[in-house]
Amino acid sequence: MITFKATKRNLLKLVFLTSLMGTVPSFAHHSTTMFDHNKSVVLNGVVKEVQWTNPHVGIFVTGATQPNEEPAVWLMEMTSPGNLVRDGWKRTSIKAGDKVEVSFSPLRNGSKGGALKKITLIDTGESFTTNIRSAERANLE
């Protein structure tokens, strides 16, 4: 779900964001080996936008992975909304404007994107993970 108001400024932002997504695949039902699962990168920044949509939820974060790095927009990809709910997420768990720390497996091609592993809200310390294989049991509460 995009949190988005119909202002010219936001429209320009969206166009800008879209242009940054140039090389980030956002396909349905794909294997995730375009991400390097042997690597873990930490990104600190502010959530620009949350797309709570099928087939893969996406979170755009403006931030840096190194202290002196110029902040940039990174696209964090996850599984489907239904699967995230079983991992304890809600549509409103992460919102635009939230300060976050994200650990993720980066795209192998060097683009600014990755498979989100854990996201922590700086203000509350609350965190969410995205391993669909971690909740393989019946009758989750």
């Binding site: 995009i2 988005f4 119909a6 429209l11 969206l14 166009v15 879209t18 242009s19 997504m21 140039g22 090389t23 980030v24 695949p25 956002s26 396909f27 349905a28 039902h29 794909h30 294997s31 995730t32 080996t33 375009m34 390097d36 949509t53 099928n54 087939p55 893969h56 599984t79 489907s80 909304p81 239904g82 699967n83 709910v85 079983r86 192998r108 669909i132 294989r133 909740a135 393989e136 049991r137 019946a138 009758n139 989750l140 509460e141």
Partner: protein, 280 residues
């Protein structure tokens, strides 16, 4: 003489009645084969005697992963070469994009490799599987005693008929479109290339584990039929209800158009499948 005529008259009447009943029964039988008779209270009561498959069911993905190594399909030489290439590609970080077009995974891949939940509904003469992906995938399994059509229209999920053997639903599926993939993961699979048949025995393996024992006959890609089992976990909590899963949603950006209306704008992709920068 009078008695005799009367008797002959009675015989004629009786014969006439019998003939009428015979034709009526033929007609009634034809109606129940070709049309849906209104379900009776008994039809609904019979459903209560079926096993409890309520709730939503999540696939055991780690078992799908494991079976790639422990129970691979008996691929024929041509398919084996493709699968080997796909594994090498995936290991190199270039997963083959088998299911990226938002078409349903279809049969039997839905049962084999899905990462998404499903629910199962019983109604008189029918079992329906509803899945949480691709635009809400669906399988209709007819349990009303019908046969397959002589020449079914090929579809992604095929034509399924089923019957109950105790607490096991036995399903026979034919008429699967040749483009439907026989896949063991989201990056390894081949088109079934027609003539595929899938026989399933679906049953509870424990109170909250559903097992689908599949036997897949795919003569154009396998050297012999392949037997495998897929497992699903039950969730009873209502917060895990199946949600809408429209795959194509990911190909659009919600925006506000010049009239102030909330609309979708299609995302443009280049030939490599990446989002392009021309989406302005």
């Amino acid at each position: 003489m009078i008695d005799c005529s009367l008797r002959r008259f009675q015989i004629n009447i009786n014969l006439g009645l019998m003939l009428a009943m015979f034709f009526c029964s033929l007609f009634a039988r034809a109606a129940s084969v070709d049309k849906y008779d209104p379900p009776t209270l008994k039809d609904w009561t019979n459903i209560a005697a079926l096993p409890d498959w309520s709730g939503s069911w999540n696939p055991k993905i780690t078992d799908q992963d494991m079976q790639q190594k422990t129970n691979p399909p008996p691929w024929n030489a041509r398919s084996a070469a493709t699968i080997k290439f796909q594994y090498a590609e995936e290991a190199a970080g270039r997963p083959t994009p088998l299911f990226v077009n938002c078409l349903p995974e279809g049969m039997p891949s839905w049962m084999l490799i899905s990462h998404n939940a499903m629910e199962i509904l019983f109604t008189p003469g029918r079992v329906t599987l509803l899945g949480e992906s691709d635009g809400n995938r669906i399988r209709r399994i007819y349990t009303d005693g019908r046969k397959h059509p002589d020449d079914p229209d090929p579809t992604l999920h095929g034509h399924s008929i089923g019957h109950w053997e105790g607490d096991t639903l036995v399903v026979d599926t034919v008429g699967i479109i040749p483009q439907s993939l026989l896949a063991v993961s989201e990056a390894e699979g081949v088109p079934s290339n027609g003539d595929m048949r899938v026989v399933e025995r679906i049953h509870l393996q424990g109170p909250d584990i559903l097992a689908d024992d599949l036997e897949i006959f795919a003569p154009n890609v396998l050297t012999k039929p392949w037997k495998t089992t897929r497992l699903f976990f039950r969730q009873r909590a209502k917060k895990y209800d199946i949600v809408e899963g429209i795959c194509l949603e990911g190909s659009y950006i919600p925006k506000i158009d010049k009239n102030g209306d909330a609309v979708y704008e299609q995302i443009q992709y280049d030939v490599g499948g990446n989002r392009t920068v021309t989406n302005k």
